[in-house]
Every structure is written in C-alpha cells, then in structure tokens.
C-alpha cells in the first residue's frame, strides 16, 4: 500500500509543478489578451470541466498510443510512446487538471487589474520584472488555490488514469485505481482504509485552502 501512496503523491507533485509552470503564463495571457483567440483558448482549457474523463482519456490514449500523433512527433527525439507510463500519466493529469489551476490564477490576475502593472511600468520596471515583482505576488492567493486544487484533483482523478495508465504497480497504479482493484478482489478492509484516507485528505485540503486564502487576502488589503 505504501508504494501506491508514494506513487500517487509523486504523480500529484510532479503534475502540480508542471501545471503551475504551464498554467501561470497561460492564465496571464488569458487575463491580459483582448484577442478573440483568447476566448477559444479559454474554452479549450475549460473542456475537462464538462467532458466525461473517459472521453478525454480516450483521446489522450489515441494520441499517446504507439501509432498516435504525439508518439510519432516524439519518436525522432527518442521518446517512447507515453501510454501506460508514468510520464504519460503526468501529461494526462496536466491536461485534465488545467482548468482547476488556470481559472483561479487568471481570476487573481484579473482582480489585481492593470493599475499595479502600470504603476510598476512608471517606476522603471520592465514587463518581465513587473510580472515577477508585482503581478505574481499580487496573485499569490490565486496561485495557492490553483496549486492546491491541481494537487488534490490529480490525486482524485480516476477516469483518465484508467484509460491511459492502466494499473501497472509502481508505474501507473495510483490510489483511486487501487481502491477499485481492492473492491473488485473483495478486499473491503483495504478499500475502506484507502477511501477513508482520501476522504480525510480531501476535507483537509478544502479546509486549508479556505483558511490560507482568507489569510493571504487579508495581507494584501
């Protein structure tokens, strides 16, 4: 059971880092741009919110299978197909959790508005400098919310993992899949323990997030 937990946490941590690195610039662009393309991008990012995870997982599986477009694109770089591997799982999690990370960060950028960035510009801060010195700290609560939601959501995901990861112990067998396995093999005790763990964890995440966000926002006022 330990290796299942370790793998789950590892997946969530790696995915969250990737989500923040990719999601923050994306959120910034969505908050700033006035181009119509932004609306399309915004809708694409939000898709995982409404798509059944199996649909998303199916397309990801097709893309990452040995004959899929992603695998073909990566083949010249010497990268093996991602389906049923840990990196594949990370890629799937990033796509699946993207709206949960991008939306709070984007909202935070939009709430801060243009004025602080204008002030920074008149104080000799170049755009990138102003982004790190002003926009990012002001979006702190949004970044934290995004990170926690991304982490928790990755831990809780099931459908996408099932489709593209399967259940390979040590590689793709994460908590939510393991619970299904235990139930199917009638190991109710273990399933109980893991489910209770998930329940407690989820509750703590939501509580921590609420408290932390309140505190951070108070600091900014």
């Amino acid at each position: 059971m330990g290796d299942i937990l370790a793998l789950t946490v590892k997946l969530a941590t790696v995915s969250t880092c990737m989500l923040l690195v990719l999601g923050t610039p994306l959120a910034w662009w969505l908050a700033q741009s006035r181009h119509w393309v932004k609306e399309v991008a915004s809708a694409v990012v939000a898709l995982p919110l409404v798509l059944p995870p199996t649909v998303l997982g199916f397309y990801l599986l097709v893309a990452m299978s040995p004959e899929g477009p992603v695998s073909r694109a990566l083949a010249p770089l010497g990268i093996a197909p991602l389906a049923f591997t840990f990196p594949g799982l990370v890629a799937g999690s990033v796509v699946y959790s993207l709206p949960f990370v991008v939306n709070p960060i984007r909202n935070a950028f939009e709430a801060a508005g243009r004025r602080p960035m204008e002030a920074a510009a008149t104080l000799r801060a170049a755009p990138l400098d102003a982004f790190f010195a002003v926009a990012l700290p002001l979006a702190g609560p949004g970044l934290l919310t995004g990170a926690i939601l991304g982490f928790a959501h990755t831990i809780g995901e099931f459908g996408v993992v099932l489709m593209i990861g399967g259940s390979i112990p040590g590689e793709t067998k994460v908590l939510s899949i393991a619970i299904l396995d235990y139930v199917e093999t009638l190991q109710w005790g273990t399933a109980h323990r893991l489910s209770a763990l998930m329940l407690g964890f989820s509750f703590c995440v939501i509580l921590t997030m609420t408290v932390l966000e309140k505190r951070l926002l108070r600091g900014l006022r």
Partner: protein
C-alpha cells in the same frame, strides 16, 4: 531653459483627442479642464501608458520620448506618475513601495532620507499600505514617484480622491515640493482653487483640444477666457517680501506696479509669495480716498470692461499709474460703472479689502 513639447492626436474610447502644447522645463504646469476633456489621457500618453495614432513628446531637444513611429515604452521614460488613487503595491510595506522605483532607476539626486523628510513619512515606513489614511497613501505615492528619479513628475488629480481634511493636510507638502525640487511637474486638475495655489502655468483643455496655455496670472485675468467673467473670479499675483513693519505687524509686498500690505509675517526679505485677490474684494474710486481704513489703495488703469451677470460688471485693471503692472479684476455693480463713467484707459484707485497668501510659507 529647455522646452517640453507635447502633441498627441487620435481616437480613444469614441473620443477625438488632438492636444498640443509646450511648457517650460521647470515649475508646475496645470492641465485644467472639465471632467472628460482628455487631460488624464494626455498625461497617460506622456507616460507611455497610452499610445494614440499620432504622438510626439520631447523633454528637450536631446531627450525625445516619442516621435511619430518611435515610441519609448513607459519603463524607459524618466517619469514619476502619481495616480488619482495612490495605487500603492499592497504586498509591499511603505518602504518597499518607496524603494521600488529607487532600486530600478539610474542613480539620481533625490535621496531616500530627503523624500522621507520632505513628505513626513518617517513614522509610516514599516506600515502596510492598507493601514494608511487616504492622505498618507497619496504622500507615499508621491514619494515613490519622486524616488524613481524622474525628469518630469506627472500628477493625475492626486487630491481628488481625498476629503477636505486630507487635502488640506497634503497641499502644503505639494507646495514644499514645488519649492524644493527643480523637476517640472504636470498637474491634472479640475479644481480651480487647487490650481491657483500650485500652478505656475495653465494648459486649458476642452473637448480633447487645448484652448489656451500660458502663465496662470495672465490666463486668469484674460478677458477672452471664461475665468475673468466668473462670479468668483480672482487673480493670482506673484509678490516678493519687501519690508516688515513690526509696529503694526504688517508685511510689505512688492508686486509689479505696486506695493501691498498684508497682516502677519510673510517670510524673509525677498521671499517669493503668491497672492490671490478675489474680484469681489476689489472696489474702485475715481479720486484717491482720504482717511479710509482700507490699507491697500492702489492707482490703476482700466484695461477693459467684462460682461457680468445680473447687473454686475467686471473691470480688468492694470496696476500702476501707467496700468502696465500686475492685473487685477474688480467686480462692481452696473450702476457704479455708470456713476464712475468707467471706460478703458481711465485712471482709477483700486481699494483691496482682502488679500490671501495662497501658498503656505516656505520654511
């Protein structure tokens, strides 16, 4: 002295702007006009925060920030910008805010301690912006702008978001700034009283155009402009402290074409002061009044008569026997005008009941 040249033209938010003016490289130039006349847009264009179809801005012939196709982004323009709402960074302390621009600017002459003293910020340094009053916040914003070592200070109605008390608290600081710094200041305002206190020159704007520009004393007394005909018309006059009469506690001030007495000490000999004389406080006599309690009775000449409302007329005067001194406006009744047979060129005596020193005494 280098001249600042500005010209911006283009459409912004369904509004046509075409504003051009020049200003000297020192002193306070007020961009004055009703709300929505485009004065804030001009200021934003100067800072590079807004880019219109056409723009030209040069601080001097060597320092061109924008000209047709060339455009320096805001962070490469040496401006200090004070926003209407202070716009401090909420995640930084007062010190953090003050040092933000200082750290990024080229080394300059304006030192941290100097600004802290000038604006009275020493007690606020560790505070978070959220724990400052409106007036304190605006003082920090001014300090932050100054410490970015600007070659031009832009102030967008810095007092309009403040209540009466905070305004009175902050105006003396602005006046000290005026005296202590040699940086030119562009000051956007729609409050005439503020402008009378602070500005050396006016750029008058209406509907996206510049309608007049020049020294404030001249514009306020210009019969072609709306100021002189207002019911609450007033002139501002530059004066120098000429003598102190301790026996009566009076200060003698020299202005162009006359000397005036004001109660109280008005500064060291030679100190420059600004006077405001309301048209309603000036009455006229044909002959020098004998035995009057009014201290300031000055020979003057009528320059022109201004139309007034409700049986009132304004009389534009030039001080001195030749009428070539500072300008004054008297508001009198139409009947007085006829009784005194006033007309342009006539010699009169102006009796001044009230003189206000509008700038606070320099330290």
């Amino acid at each position: 002295m280098s001249r600042i040249e500005a010209h911006f033209a283009g459409r912004i938010g369904g509004f046509d702007l075409d504003a051009a003016f020049t200003a000297p490289g020192s002193g306070v130039t007020a961009l004055f006009g009703p709300s929505g006349c485009g004065k804030t847009t001009v200021l934003r264009c100067i800072a590079g925060l807004e880019r219109l179809r056409y723009g030209h801005f040069s601080l001097s012939s060597e320092e061109v920030w924008q000209d047709g196709g060339s455009f320096l982004p805001p962070h490469r323009r040496a401006v200090g910008y004070v926003f209407q709402e202070a716009n401090l960074f909420p995640h930084l302390s007062v010190t953090g805010n003050l040092r933000f621009g200082l750290r990024r600017a080229k080394a300059g002459a304006i030192a941290f301690g100097e600004v802290v003293d000038l604006l009275g910020l020493s007690r606020l340094l560790e505070r978070a912006p959220g724990r400052l009053s409106g007036g304190e916040r605006q003082r920090v914003a001014i300090g932050r702008a100054l410490l970015s070592q600007p070659r031009l200070l832009l102030m967008d109605e810095p007092l309009s978001a403040l209540d009466r008390m905070s305004k009175d608290e902050i105006l003396p600081y602005l006046e000290r700034l005026h005296d202590a710094l040699s940086i030119p200041v562009f000051y956007v305002s729609h409050d005439l009283a503020e402008v009378e206190r602070l500005a050396d020159r006016l750029v008058l704007m209406e509907g996206g155009r510049v309608t007049a520009a020049g020294p404030i004393a001249r514009l306020l007394a210009d019969p072609a402009l709306p100021f002189a005909a207002r019911r609450d018309a007033a002139v501002v006059i530059d004066a120098a402290v000429a003598a102190w009469e301790p026996a009566y506690g009076l200060t003698r001030l020299a202005v162009a074409g006359a000397e005036m007495l004001v109660p109280g000490a008005a500064g060291a000999l030679g100190a420059r002061r600004r006077l405001r004389i309301a048209a309603g406080d000036v009455s006229l006599c044909r002959v020098a009044p004998q035995q009057t309690s009014i201290l300031n009775v000055l020979p003057a000449r009528v320059i022109s008569l201004l139309p007034g409302e409700a049986h009132q007329v304004g009389v534009l005067l030039g001080l001195g026997d030749a009428g070539d001194g500072a300008r004054l406006i008297a508001r009198i009744s139409a009947k007085s005008r006829d009784l005194l047979e006033l007309a342009a060129g006539e010699a009169v005596f102006a009796q001044i009941k009230g003189i206000a020193l509008v700038d606070s005494a320099a330290d």
